[in-house]
C-alpha cells in the first residue's frame, strides 16, 4: 500500500479523515479550553496565592 492509496481511503477519504478531524477538533478544543480556564484562575488577582505551586507535591 502506498501513502497516496492510504490517504485516498478507497474513495472514502472525506468521510474517514473528516471523522478523525472532528475528533481532533473536539479533543483539542476541550484540552485547550481547560488549560485556558486553569490559567485564568491562576492569574486572577487575589487567587494566585491560593493555587498550590506547580502540581500538588
Amino acid at each position: 500500500m502506498t501513502w497516496s492509496e492510504f490517504f485516498h481511503m478507497g474513495g472514502y477519504a472525506y468521510y474517514v479523515w473528516g471523522s478523525y478531524l472532528a475528533t481532533l477538533i473536539i479533543i483539542g478544543g476541550e484540552v485547550f479550553s481547560l488549560v485556558r480556564r486553569k490559567r485564568k484562575l491562576a492569574t486572577q488577582p487575589g487567587r494566585a496565592s491560593t493555587l498550590p505551586r506547580g502540581r500538588a507535591k
Binding site: 492510504f6 481511503m9 478507497g10 474513495g11 472514502y12 472525506y14 468521510y15 474517514v16 473528516g18 471523522s19 478523525y20 472532528a22 475528533t23 473536539i26 479533543i27 476541550e30 484540552v31 481547560l34 480556564r37 486553569k38 484562575l41 487567587r47 496565592s49 491560593t50 493555587l51 498550590p52 502540581r55 500538588a56 507535591k57
Partner: protein
C-alpha cells in the same frame, strides 16, 4: 490512609493533580496504538471498504457518551442524597466530556451514514435516542449555568440527570426493539463479537484511550470547579 479525607474538595484537589498524568500519558499512548492498529493492521472491510475505519472512533465515542451519562447521574445522585459537594462537582465536570463524546458520536455517525446508507441522518430509533442524550447533557449544562447558587444548581441538575438515565437503556436496546437502519451491536455481552479480532483490538484500544482521557480531563476540570467554588485559600494551602 484515610480515604474519607478525599471527600473534602480541598484534599481531593491535590490528589486529582497527582493522578492526572497517570491517566493522560497512557491515554496518549493508547490513542496512538489504537490508530496504528486501526489504520495499518486492520484490513479493508470486504463490504464497507475503508469507510468502516470510522468505527474505531465512532463506537468508543458513543459508548463514552452513554457510560459517562450514567456516571454523571450516579455522582449527581450521591451529591444530592448525601449533600456531598465533591460528588456534585464531579457530575458537573463529567457532563462536559460526556456531551462532547455524544456530539462526536453523532458527527462521526453522520459521516459514516452518508457513504454506507446514502444519508447523513435518519429519524431512526438509535439516532434519535442518541440525539435526546445530547439534549439531556445540554439541558443539564444549561440548567447548571442558569442557577447562580451552586447548591440549588446541583440539586436541579441531579433531578434532570437521574430522570434522563432511562434514555440510556433505550439507546442500547434500540437496535433490537425497533426496526432500524443502524447496524446491530458489534460487541455482545453474551456471545462472540461480530467483527475480526484485529478490528476489535483497535476498537477496544481506542475505547480504553477514551476512558483514560475522560478521567484525565474530568479530574483537570473538577480542579478548576473546586477552585472556582471554594476559594478558601487556607483549605487548599494546607496540604
Amino acid at each position: 490512609m484515610n480515604l474519607y479525607k478525599y471527600a473534602s474538595p480541598a484534599a481531593f484537589y491535590s490528589l486529582a493533580g497527582k493522578l492526572i498524568p497517570w491517566f493522560a500519558i497512557p491515554a496518549v499512548v493508547l490513542f496512538a496504538a489504537g490508530l496504528y492498529i486501526g489504520f495499518f493492521k486492520a484490513p479493508t472491510d470486504f463490504q464497507q471498504g475503508d469507510a468502516y475505519r470510522i468505527m474505531f472512533i465512532h463506537v468508543p465515542a458513543a459508548w463514552m457518551g452513554m457510560m459517562l451519562y450514567v456516571l454523571m447521574a450516579l455522582y449527581a445522585g450521591v451529591g444530592w442524597a448525601f449533600n456531598a459537594r465533591l460528588a456534585s462537582m464531579m457530575a458537573s465536570s463529567i457532563s462536559v466530556t460526556g456531551a462532547l463524546f455524544t456530539l462526536l458520536s453523532l458527527i462521526t455517525g453522520s459521516l459514516w451514514g452518508k457513504p454506507t446508507w446514502g444519508t447523513w441522518w435518519v429519524w431512526d430509533a438509535r439516532l434519535t435516542s442518541t440525539l435526546i442524550l445530547l439534549f439531556l447533557y445540554v439541558g443539564f449544562l444549561s440548567l447548571q449555568a442558569a442557577i447562580d447558587e451552586p447548591k440549588r444548581a446541583d440539586r436541579a441538575g441531579a433531578v434532570l440527570a437521574i430522570v434522563g438515565v432511562v434514555n440510556v437503556p433505550i439507546i442500547y436496546f434500540s437496535v433490537q426493539w425497533w426496526n432500524t437502519l443502524h447496524q446491530g451491536a458489534t460487541i455482545r455481552i453474551l456471545g462472540k463479537p461480530s467483527i475480526a479480532p484485529v478490528m476489535l483490538a483497535a476498537m477496544l484500544t481506542m475505547l480504553a484511550a477514551c476512558w483514560l482521557y475522560s478521567v484525565a480531563v474530568t479530574l483537570a476540570r473538577v480542579r478548576c470547579i473546586i477552585m472556582e467554588r471554594e476559594l478558601n485559600a487556607s483549605l487548599i494551602n494546607d496540604n
